[in-house]
């Protein structure tokens, strides 16, 4: 969509040293992102979440992150200090996690938590922050923002909790949002509601979105472009609408393994893993 990409990643590696040798969670991943919706799909252990965390500087020691290039709008991310990361997180890049139950502070009103994000990045009075926070709750289609502002995490349903999380992540108006399985803990009907809100916000604000999911159906219908990860590698990159015509045998096998409502089969295809894929 735009000329210069928002995010450029070249040869990203994430390694966790261990007694039995190093585990290479992400291997030579290269991709770029414009102001678009990029999906990352893969099974558990494929490195998709680790990739997302590496972009936010959230790989805990002794994990090692290295990359030939890791740039956000031209700014180099690989040489940032902790203080630089603090300023960047929330303001430029945010992340929505899978389960609002574990990501929200249980002893703080949700309205306060949204405010906190805003005040960390903007000089604003209490009143101003509160006004923004209420407006943000409205933007994520919370019906009664004044009421929900005073709720604690346990009083929210799954769908509401996830909307609050999105509100909190978007209030500082980041350029890039990383959503790690944002709808996996939700019911299908609620799932689409949350996706719609995310979609509208991303489009209206011109953000880039990295959407990490294991659900091929959602990724192919929601994103513009898809990366398929297997064993820490990006094995395929294609347009989301062309996922069904994928080339890599892993992607094709994965697509066939999903039981689809309007495509009856007597037996599901099983993914037969080829060691060659890990070369």
């Amino acid at each position: 969509m735009s000329d210069s990409p928002l995010l450029e990643v070249e040869d990203l590696n994430v390694t966790f040293p261990g007694r039995g040798g190093a585990t290479r969670a992400v291997r030579n991943a290269s991709f770029s992102l414009g102001r678009e919706r990029l999906g990352i799909v893969g099974e558990s252990g494929s490195g998709k979440s680790t990739t997302g965390r590496a972009l936010l500087g959230l790989i805990p020691p002794p994990g090692l992150v290295s990359a030939k290039r890791l740039q956000l709008s031209g700014q180099d991310l690989s040489s940032l200090t902790d203080a630089d990361w603090q300023r960047l997180r929330g303001r430029r890049i945010s992340m929505v996690m899978q389960d609002p139950k574990y990501s929200l502070n249980p002893v703080l009103k949700v309205g306060r938590q949204i405010e906190e994000t805003y005040r960390l990045h903007h000089r604003a009075s209490q009143g101003e922050a509160r006004r923004r926070s209420l407006a943000m709750l409205e933007a994520v289609k919370i019906r009664d923002p004044d009421l929900v502002y005073h709720f604690y995490a346990h009083q929210l349903s799954g769908g509401m909790g996830q909307r609050v999380m999105i509100a909190m992540m978007l209030i500082a108006e980041p350029d890039l949002l990383i959503a790690d399985e944002p709808t996996s803990a939700l019911d299908v009907t609620v799932q689409n509601e949350v996706l719609r809100i995310l979609d509208d916000l991303v489009t209206d604000r011109g953000m880039g979105l990295i959407f990490i999911s294991h659900n091929l159906t959602i990724v192919s219908s929601f994103c513009d472009r898809v990366l398929v990860m297997y064993g820490g590698r990006i094995v395929e990159e294609c347009k989301a609408s062309e996922l069904s015509a994928a080339r890599h045998p892993y992607t094709r096998a994965l697509m066939k393994a999903v039981p689809v409502l309007d495509r009856p089969v007597s037996e599901l295809a099983v993914v037969i893993r080829d060691p060659e894929w890990l070369r």
Partner: protein
């Protein structure tokens, strides 16, 4: 084979009565796989638990023309076995696979335990070397295979499956679903499968009940489900939602 009429389940929580399932009726023929679909809180798992005698219920339940209450004899329990969603939570972490499979046989005083355990492992595609491992030494898919082996070791005629693949990756899900359909053929099992995934349910079941807030919204044949020939608006909404995200053109 299984007949449920006017099944209701009430829970008491915080001094309030909560009706988890209200007046649900259906019957499952021998050899059939019956599906129950719904979102969280719809009562789909509670129905399964009521049929298994794990929660108190009102209404009538007959299995093989015999009325069943909550109290079950050993023989009753042998006929019906459950497989749970979470292969991590349903196996005892300090018991080896051998212990887990041996236990039902010991309880029911069955002979030839060694041979039966061996055969049960082979049945679900596990190798002899898996027998003396602990659950944490197995993958999620392997653990679910153990759970299935344990449920089948008493040779039940009815298998109750509660979201058996929701915690698994799609490639592993495909393997477990294939295993279930192969086993149900070789043992002529009658199954009730509870899931939130319409694709999974349609893959295994002939008839499907759609649940919402404790009520049975609609009973559908699998073909009507596949062709979206549902009568109720909620069912149609559910079918549409399961096909992925649709972007509204603004």
């Amino acid at each position: 084979m299984i007949e449920v009429s006017d099944l209701s389940v009430n829970f008491r929580a915080g001094g309030r009565q909560i009706r988890a399932v209200s007046n649900v009726s259906f019957s499952v023929a021998g050899g059939e796989t019956f599906g129950v679909v719904g979102e969280s809180g719809s009562g789909k798992s509670t129905i399964l638990r009521a049929i298994a005698g794990l929660v108190a219920m009102t209404g009538r339940l007959t299995v093989n023309d015999r009325p069943m209450g909550r109290a079950r004899s050993k023989a009753d329990r042998r006929v019906m076995q459950l497989v749970f969603q979470d292969p991590y939570g349903s196996l005892h972490p300090r018991q080896t696979i051998d212990d887990a499979l041996r236990e039902p046989l010991l309880i029911h005083g069955l002979p030839e335990i060694d041979r039966t355990v061996e055969a049960a492992l082979a049945d679900v595609g596990l190798l002899p070397q898996h027998r003396f491992r602990y659950p944490h030494q197995l993958s999620g898919g392997q653990r679910q295979r153990v759970a299935i082996a344990r449920s089948l070791i008493l040779k039940p005629s009815i298998l109750l499956l509660d979201e058996p693949t929701s915690a698994l990756d799609v490639s592993i899900q495909a393997e477990i679903l294939n295993l279930i359909s192969q086993l149900r053929r070789s043992y002529q099992l009658t199954c009730i499968l509870v899931s939130h995934d319409l694709g999974v349910v349609a893959h295994l079941c002939n008839r499907i009940a759609i649940m919402r807030t404790g009520n049975l919204v609609e009973l559908l044949g699998v073909d009507s489900l596949r062709q979206s020939l549902a009568h109720e608006a909620y069912t149609r909404e559910l079918i549409a939602a399961s096909k992925g995200f649709t972007r509204v053109v603004r």
